[in-house]
């Protein structure tokens, strides 16, 4: 069923100068799917994720959210979004969590979370605050609601960032190496939150180096190598029985 597809990525290509980072990649996430993108640094997985919400503009290919295609057209020989307003509306349906949290430093935790719902979704302050408090409860940092990001640990900041993304009620969550910038002892608290979201049936695309996480929560694991999908499949099968040499090597390296 077509309307079961939450996100489709069709034959995305992207060059940075002479370097071809993505050489034609496709993905399809049905509602509730968790797709993990794994691979060495430089394999293109983060770029692919950033192409999904057009933080990077693909040179060719299509991104389809629900049944809406992000419209693009060439401007002076390079592809560009065709309709800024359309892109802004599509982005509201995609929650993004960054490696470096990227919380707005001049706003408290609560203000970070209600900013989008209030000004982009048109909620009243009271509605937005009520929802934000539930989300803070969910990510386990309700007591920090009036703190500024600079007063929080990395793990706390990342959990706020997740709450901020969830506050927009996105159809798909995008995670770009959400635990890579964290001190080892803070990784678990963020992984717990991500696992919780998977258990709720959230549709998620996840770039990660945490193989255990990818194995536990993914419906599909996609292994990228030099801008191409080298291997993809169910996590348990792929990880215990890799078909390609490259994936075997990669798994040995990160194990």
């Amino acid at each position: 069923m077509a309307n079961d597809i939450a996100l489709a990525v069709r034959d995305i290509r992207k060059k940075f100068g002479p370097l071809e980072v993505l050489k034609g990649i496709s993905l399809e996430a049905r509602r509730g799917d968790v797709i993990s993108l794994i691979g060495q640094s430089g394999s293109g997985k983060s770029t692919l994720l950033r192409c999904i919400n057009y933080l990077e503009t693909p040179d060719s290919g299509e991104i389809i959210v629900g049944d809406e295609v992000i419209r693009a057209r060439p401007v002076r020989g390079r592809m560009s979004r065709a309709d800024r307003r359309q892109l802004e509306l599509v982005r509201r349906r995609l929650g993004m969590v960054f490696q470096n949290f990227n919380l707005w430093a001049h706003m408290t935790v609560l203000e970070n979370i209600i900013e989008g719902p209030r000004h982009l979704l048109g909620l009243t302050r009271d509605q937005a605050v009520a929802e934000a408090e539930q989300l803070l409860e969910k990510v386990g940092i309700r007591e920090k609601r009036d703190s500024y990001p600079s007063r929080l640990s990395g793990g706390q900041q990342q959990r706020v960032a997740i709450a901020r993304a969830l506050a927009m009620n996105p159809e798909v969550m995008l995670f770009d190496e959400p635990t890579s910038a964290l001190d080892p002892e803070l990784v678990q608290e963020v992984l717990q939150v991500i696992k919780g979201l998977a258990a709720e049936g959230r549709t998620m695309i996840l770039v990660t180096h945490e193989m255990a996480l990818a194995r536990d929560i993914s419906s599909e694991v996609v292994f990228l190598h030099q801008g191409l999908v080298e291997e993809r499949g169910a996590p348990a099968e792929m990880m215990s029985n890799p078909k390609s040499d490259r994936l075997r090597q990669f798994l040995r390296m990160v194990a």
């Binding site: 919400n53 933080l55 800024r84 307003r85 802004e88 509306l89 599509v90 982005r91 509201r92 995609l94 993004m96 960054f98 470096n100 949290f101 990227n102 919380l103 707005w104 430093a105 001049h106 706003m107 408290t108 900013e115 989008g116 000004h119 982009l120 500024y148 990001p149 600079s150 007063r151 960032a161 901020r164 993304a165 927009m168």
Partner: protein, 229 residues
């Protein structure tokens, strides 16, 4: 001598509102146009970058007094020969205060633009990206994310520029404006006393600057409370 100085204080305090008005108007408009100039500088469009860069170079590279003379006497020379002489603008243009406000504003805008440009560029890219990812428009990102942080970062320099502006308004006395220094000069002529009116004027400027400094440091502490200690 002390009693002479004290006797000059009341008439000078009466002139203080004009000094404060010049500072407030040129300071506010200067900040507004400073933001626009800073945006023009970093826009990347050559037709915006080039004029804003040149204006800043010229205004910051020449003395304010020279600029004031050029505008006051220059425009005063040129305008009467044009259509402006018979337009509704003319009654205003005969008043020196508009020339002073014009020059002070542009000058202030150029200094503000310089600080703001750096402060805007220093806002972390990741925060801008997070705002784009959530679906904010470029205008909203600038108003809600970039400008507040740039403003907080620039605040110490912006505040000291306002204090410099306050003192620079005294130059307006050279084009017949009776603000604090202009009034002091008139008192010199009336009383034939050279030093006392000037000392009284200096005291007034000093006290106002002192108050302003206190206010701005209070503001700074509030505005940057979110930063890591």
């Amino acid at each position: 001598m002390i009693s002479d100085i004290l006797q000059f204080l009341p008439p000078l305090i009466k002139a203080l509102p004009l000094t404060l008005m010049l500072t407030a108007v040129a300071g506010t408009l200067g900040l507004f146009f400073g933001i626009i100039l800073a945006l023009a500088r970093i826009s990347g469009y050559r037709i915006l970058v080039w004029p804003s860069f040149t204006l800043g170079l010229v205004m910051r590279g020449t003395p304010l007094l020279v600029q004031l003379y050029l505008v006051y006497y220059g425009l005063g020379e040129l305008l009467p020969g044009t259509w402006v002489r018979h337009s509704w603008l003319w009654p205003y243009l005969r008043n020196a205060i508009w020339y002073a406000i014009l020059v002070l504003t542009i000058s202030q805008a150029c200094y503000n633009a310089e600080v703001l440009r750096g402060a805007i560029l220093a806002v972390p890219k990741g925060q801008i990206e997070a705002a784009r990812a959530v679906g904010m428009s470029p205008g909203r990102i600038f108003r809600r994310i970039t400008l507040p942080q740039a403003f907080h970062a620039a605040l110490p320099v912006l505040a000291s520029d306002v204090i410099i502006l306050l003192k620079a308004t005294s130059l307006a006395s050279t084009v017949t404006i009776m603000e604090v220094l202009g009034t002091a000069r008139a008192l010199q002529r009336e009383t034939m006393m050279i030093l006392e009116p000037l000392i009284a004027a200096a005291i007034i400027y000093f006290v106002v600057v002192l108050i302003l400094t206190q206010l701005t440091s209070l503001l700074e502490r509030k505005a940057t409370s979110y930063r890591a200690r």
